[in-house]
């Protein structure tokens, strides 16, 4: 679980390099001003690359916060 969090944090940090380590776990569309549709697509691609999974485009709506992406990955069985 910790490893999963760490790897996801690295993805989020790569897309939003200005976030501090404390801000990353609570990052969301609401709290990060430059989290726009482009950032969502980049994050989506990065998560696919990092975890070696294919994410259905319909699931992109969950890519709006760190916590939701984490939950999505756990549900998909990533890191088990």
């Amino acid at each position: 679980m910790e490893e999963l969090r760490e790897r996801l944090s690295q993805c989020v940090a790569a897309v939003f390099p200005d976030l501090t380590p404390q801000e990353i776990p609570v990052a969301s569309v609401a709290s990060v001003s430059n989290w726009d549709s482009m950032a969502t697509v980049t994050l989506h691609t990065l998560v696919q690359e990092e975890f070696g999974i294919e994410i259905d485009p319909d699931d992109l709506e969950q890519f709006v916060s760190y916590e939701l992406i984490l939950a999505y990955l756990q549900e998909a069985g990533v890191g088990r």
Partner: protein
Amino acid sequence: MKLMEALRLARAPADAEPFPVFLACGFTPLHLASFLAAHLRRLHPRLAPVVSVGLYGDVPGSLIRIAEQQPAAAVVLLEWADLDPRLGRRSAAGVALADLPDVLAGVQERVELLLARLGAAAERVPTALCPPTLPLPAMSAAAGWQAHGFELRMQAELAGLLATAAEMPNVRVLASRRLDRVSPPGARLDPRSEFLSDFPYRLEHASALAEQLAALLAPPPPLKGLITDLDDTLWRGLLGEVGVAGVHWNLEGHSQVHALYQQMLRRLSEAGVLLAVASKNDGELVRVALTREDLVVSDARFFPVEAHWSPKSESVARILRAWNIGADAVAFVDDSPIELAEVGEAFPDLLCLRFPTDDEGAALDLMEQLQDRFGKPTVRSEDALRAVSLRADQEFRRASTPSPSDGGDGTDTFLARADAHVVLEFSTDPTDGRALELVNKTNQFNLNGRRYTEGAWRDELTKVGSFLLTVTYQDRFGPLGKIAVLTGRCDGAEVRVTSWVMSCRAFARRIEHRCVEALFQRFATEQLVLEYAATPRNGPLREFLTPYLGDVTASECVLRRDDFDRHCPPLFHHVEVR
């Protein structure tokens, strides 16, 4: 390169030099922009690339913006939909077979428009042009294995566009043959990503394409010299065992790769690359073998030829001294791993490459690698002069060495009889590629080691009061071509020199003193401000300044006219100022 790595690498440190790049393409470039910035940074860590993106679906419009904004560099990336929207996968415009002639006519019109706007944009901005990397969508009724006339005509239109663009001074066209090798055409398209986010490339293709574009936009400085072994490298066979007639390079002897290697060396030499020989062999035997008329590269192109039984590191040391260039600008090619190791240990900066005599495929790869390391976008008249001028310089130095009967050192007498002609040309022409090349590759006589991208060079020369002085030289020993460059600004009473380089081949001719004199005369000033900075290798420049300024340590020096007049040695050049 992974996207994660690209995003990290693309973040340049705050002190890096801004390098704005305009990326014009019809789709949403997303990760391609990240990969492009990352590969540019990997090639040039001192740069901070900032990639801005053009108008969506409007490459001609983006070309107008490039001309207006004048970034440091631009990439124009075409896909088929940019030649006609009906050729895009996202449009599904329902093109009927009867529409194909109309599509073709539309493409012809678009090609003309693109060329006109590309020409205008590239007038001021170095531009990389990339032909479509994704396949032309099926439009005809033909099966996939048949090349339909429509498709071939489209390819012909594209080829015409690229050939015309490649002849534009500031345009470089991406080589599809290399991209095909590093990114197989069948594994480039990501249709899901294209439909979802209008980014049509798989990540692997985006990275590979960006890497090629980065090299095209801001190529690393080419190497200057190649030292080659002879036996089982330049030719097949051991000269000492089989004799002059016994070594070979042909199909019959299964040694064709050596003929191709010779052909490549000849090509490099014609483009100004210095060639020399380092061989453990009988010197006289080598001299005769190199005069064989069927050699593809003639013996005159090799200088010096080191053929004896001493360690090759000693030969390499002598060659580097004769060329007067650093080991980091030279490649050494030999079939023997032991020789490569011995030379590599003595010269860690030298690029040591093994000639794989028994592996034709690896030999072809080696030649491709050499072509990349020595390749340059254009060949200039000075390039053809380089080997000739090196010999002229050797003659000059030999003749200038005083004999014991001279009494004094005889330098003034020698220089007075050298019949030296100097052409000093003042301009602000940023398109003088030779001037920029000299500034970016000269290490020893270099005021401060500053390097410029094409964009930064253009900016430097378009500042108010800027000047560019280039110096061309020849004497009775032969021409040296354009060998010195100064840039600076004249701002009222202050004349400031921002860059100053001179080829090491031009040392000992007092050309540097003539340059200073020319600045004093041109600007009628009493002092010059030199933006000096010590570098690990610019000792010769410092030595030149010492008689005028004493021990130079400051980052900015002021050279006064009366000091110059007092210390300047006699100058004997015939001078033409333009």
